[in-house]
Each structure stands twice: as structure tokens, then as C-alpha cells.
Symmetry: C2
Subunit: 300 residues, 2 copies
Amino acid sequence: MRYLRTFELIEAVVRAGSIRKAAEDTNLTASALNRRIQGFEQEFGWPIFERLPRGMRLNPAGELLMHHIRLQRTDLARVQSQVADLSGERRGHISIACSQALLPYFLPEQIAIYRAEHPGVTFSINVRDRAQAERDLASYSSDLALVFEPVHLVDFDLLYALPQRVHALYRTGSPLDDKPVLRLRDCLDHRLVLPTQAYGVRNLLEVAATSIGRTLSPAVETESFDLIRHYVTQEDVVGFQIPIGLKPPHNAGFGHRPLAERDVPPGQLLLGQLKGRALPVASAKFGRQLVVALEAINAQ
Amino acid sequence: MRYLRTFELIEAVVRAGSIRKAAEDTNLTASALNRRIQGFEQEFGWPIFERLPRGMRLNPAGELLMHHIRLQRTDLARVQSQVADLSGERRGHISIACSQALLPYFLPEQIAIYRAEHPGVTFSINVRDRAQAERDLASYSSDLALVFEPVHLVDFDLLYALPQRVHALYRTGSPLDDKPVLRLRDCLDHRLVLPTQAYGVRNLLEVAATSIGRTLSPAVETESFDLIRHYVTQEDVVGFQIPIGLKPPHNAGFGHRPLAERDVPPGQLLLGQLKGRALPVASAKFGRQLVVALEAINAQ
DNA sequence: ACTGACCGATGCATTTTTTGCACTGATTGT
DNA sequence: ACAATCAGTGCAAAAAATGCATCGGTCAGT
């Protein structure tokens, strides 16, 4: 979109931090870029950048403008998506901010289902923790968020909430495999592989452990759910995860069982979007598909 | 705003109905304008106009785009208003869709109060009936609506609702002046000056008359509340109006008294904005001022 | 205190884009 | 059949954006 060029250039300057660097990124001369910025500021009525000796930084007016730019861009995308939709072809791009737990099975499966019907739709999947996911929505860089137990819920329109019990993971052959439901204290007697504090599962476990007078001292602490899944096959340790990331069972060298709800209350996997935002057709439809899929899991 | 030029031109073509007429309005040649439209359609990816032998008309894609254009323009105005606000100066433009009843006293007074504090703020007042006011909000051509008993309330964010009893107007010296509250049947024995069916007051009266087995046959029917006010001084007739349009009393050759609530239930004067829309600073502040003023009236 | 690297800004020539003019072909109403 | 519309197009002129060279300033390292 030619008429959005000025906005692109402004964004490039914001990203690069200086006109000269942004000029390289945008295949322009610093002088040309400089004059476009100046020209825009004159039209806009106020400067939007602070001129520092080391470069340019947005001033408060510029911050306000950036919100407008992002809104404007995504709203145009929405319109184009709707137009594509009314001419029959389903096109567009869907951007999702999600927890790691959705990566192994749930999202790949859902995306494949959607793309089978609408091959023109593309996806981007951004792994985000709970706070980042909300910021992604607010800056319009993601359409949908699917995260476990987000902290803040302002500006978040909840589409579905799926309760998820915390599951313990262990090497096949472990005595934990005997019972259908595990007590927290049984798990805490083993060595532990835990996600870091940023994650909801860790949070639930911390609270639960404290309430029975125990503390968590993990043998391995990691940000990677993948590593947790793999590490339990290597050593006799107990890991924890939510079942949506564990769907196909017992053939990967580890087993898993839910923790008793009286020990560790279930958390919630939340699907949502930015409050008040009208999503592009494709994103809205994929959101509805996810709701149906989550309902089906909940009904099991 | 230079970069919005294409949108202005598109709007001009929509308004004029043909490129040639729009070209005159925009001080361009038809050929230049034609090519800008074509250029935009190519960038946008789809035609936005139907080419008819008699000119151009928006196609469905164009209708969707027009919504985007309006949103984008008003959102930019909001940003500029916020920027003006943070640099101390309160500037901007406030656009209000309102019923006639607000014109004589309420709005002039409120606007004067606001402009005394913020002379940089300009106003436009559009007299609209109940349905038009809502359309004005939806198309972003008004920021606030202040109307009596609107019909639809979808997409309407209610800021305040002020109950208003229907008042009867009569020439000074009329026997109606004797009682503090009038019965509907007393009024109906006189000749009547009524607003047309489009107005809320007429509606309330029709319902009330029907329920006591009477029908309304006005001697004069008009769309102008002003005419009603003036006509009652000319002939011994009874007019009707809501008190917010009648504030300063008994020195204009006519008097007024409320109708009994058991005969004619009070209607509501509604202040609202488009649902989910973030108003410019000036409009939002004026809206709050109106709420305070309406509360004060309600408390009397 | 000096120096080199980097920053934004500006004058001027050059390139790119937009516009105006003249004209075409098609449709409609009289 | 004719006049009045309409959108679209080739080409030259006008306008706008860009590149180049250069200026004055700040800062980090020596």
C-alpha cells in the first residue's frame, strides 16, 4: 500500500533508532527519509520524534501516533480479509500468541484442519508467556492468544476457558504409573524437572507445595517444555505439564498422570482476543474453530 | 493530510456519483482522478466501484472500505486531539447530533460554558431525529448524540438518561394555567399543535390518547418545535414539548405545565456515543460536562 | 584536548510520479 | 440519428520525491 509508505518509514525509524540506520533498511537515503519524517510532522502538526545526539526516539505524541498506525494497518487488513471473503476466496493471515504447551499437538492439528479447507490462509505462531501474549494483542501483533493462566485480564475478550489439571510426567516403569491419580506429596519425593517461575504450571505447583508446607527445589529448571518431556526419559525424575501438550500417550518413553485436584487446583487455558477488536474473517473463523475444539476436549 | 488524499478523492467520487463531477469538486482533471482510483484499486487488490454507464457506484468491497476510511479519519482526529491535549492546549472539534428541544437553551448554554474555558474548541450541531442520530454516530459523523426516546439502541453507549415529562404549552391567560399539573383530557378538549409522527413527544401522546380512547387530530402539525412555541401565542391552542426546551418561563406570551405522569409517562432524553468508540479528548470532556449538567437538572 | 565516528539537517541536481490535455469508445435519452 | 454523458488512455508538462555532497553538532576513546 503506497499511501501507507510514510507509516512504514516512521516505524522503520522507531525500530532502527536513527534515520541513517532506518534509511539502509528501507533502501532510501538518509536525507530523503529525513525529509519525509519532517514533512509528516509538519502535516501532523507536532513533532513525533525527540532528536537526540545519538538518534531519534518517539516522544509522547509519537507514541500516541504509533497506536493509531497499528490500528489503521490491522483494520485495513481486516477489511481486505472481509473483501476476500465476500468474493468467495478465503484468504488472509492469522497470528497467534500461545503457550508452549500448544505447540506439540493441539495447534499443529488445528492449523492443518483449517488449512485443509482454506489453503490461502497463512499462519504465524508466536510463543509468548502470559504477559507478553497480552501485549501482543494490545499492539495488534497477534489476533488470538491461547495461554495458560494469564496474569492480567484487562483488554482481554475471553472466547473460551478450558480447565487443565496439572499432570506429572515420569519415566516408563516408574512406580507412579500404578495409581490413576497422583498425590502431590508422592511426586515431591522424587527429583523434579520444573519450568521457570514465568510459567503457570510452576505457579500452581508453588502455591500447592507451600500450602502443604513443602518447597520446590528442582534438579533441573528450564523454559522449554520440550526439554521437560525429553528429560524425564533420561533420568528418574518427575516433570509437570498440562495434558493438552501431552495428547498421544505412552509410546515416547514416559507416562503421565493427573495430580489430585485437592492438591493442585486445575488452571485454565484461556483463548481470547483484544477487547473490542473486530478480527479479520479468517482469524475470527479460526477462533470459532478453536472454541469448538476446546469444547470437545472439555467434554471428554 | 497529504497521505489521506486518496481517501478524500474516493469519498468525493462516492458523493458526486461520477469521476467527472468529483473531478470538478476536487480541482483535478477527470483523467488524473480516474487514474488515482484505478491505482488504488490495483493496490487494494479489488475494484471498489461499479462502473455504470451513468457513473460510478460503490460495490460491496467499496462499502467495507468506506467504513475503514471513516474509522481511520476519526481515529486520526482523536490522536491529534490527544496530542493537543498533552501539550496543554485544548483544541479540537465536537460534533453533536441532537433533538430540536436542545437548541433553544440547553446546548447554547453548555457550549458557551465549554468554549469559555477552551476557546480553541469548535462545535457543529446537527439536528437529527432519533434514527438519523444513531446513523450519524455509526458513520462517525457525530461524536455525541442527545436525543429524545431513540428507537434503536444497538451500538449506542448510554452516558446519561434524563427523564422528561411532557409539558403542555398554552397562551397566557388560558384556564389551563390554574392547575399545577394538567390532565391529558383537559388538553385534548382544546385545539392542538403537534409535532409530526417522527418525534418522541408525539409518540408518547399518541399512546396515551389511545389508552383513554381518544385520538389526536391536530389543527397544526409541524416538524418545527420553534413554530409550536410561537404558534401557541397566536391562537388559543395547546402545544406540547419537553421542559428542557422551555427553561426560561412565562415571559414569552405562553405558559407551560407538566402533564400528569399517570396520563402520559415521562420519556427519556438520552446522551450517548457510538459503542466501543474512543472519543477525542475534547468530545469526551464535553460529554462529561453534559452528564453533570443533566444530573443537575434531574436533581432539581 | 583532540580526533574520528555518528547524528540530523539542508541546498541543489536528478529521477520518479502525478497531472492536464486531447482524444477514444461505449451507453443513454430524445 | 444526435447530443450528452460516461470511463479509460497516450503523451508531454508539471510537481514531488529522492540522491549526493556537505554542514554543524554530540560523544566516546585516546
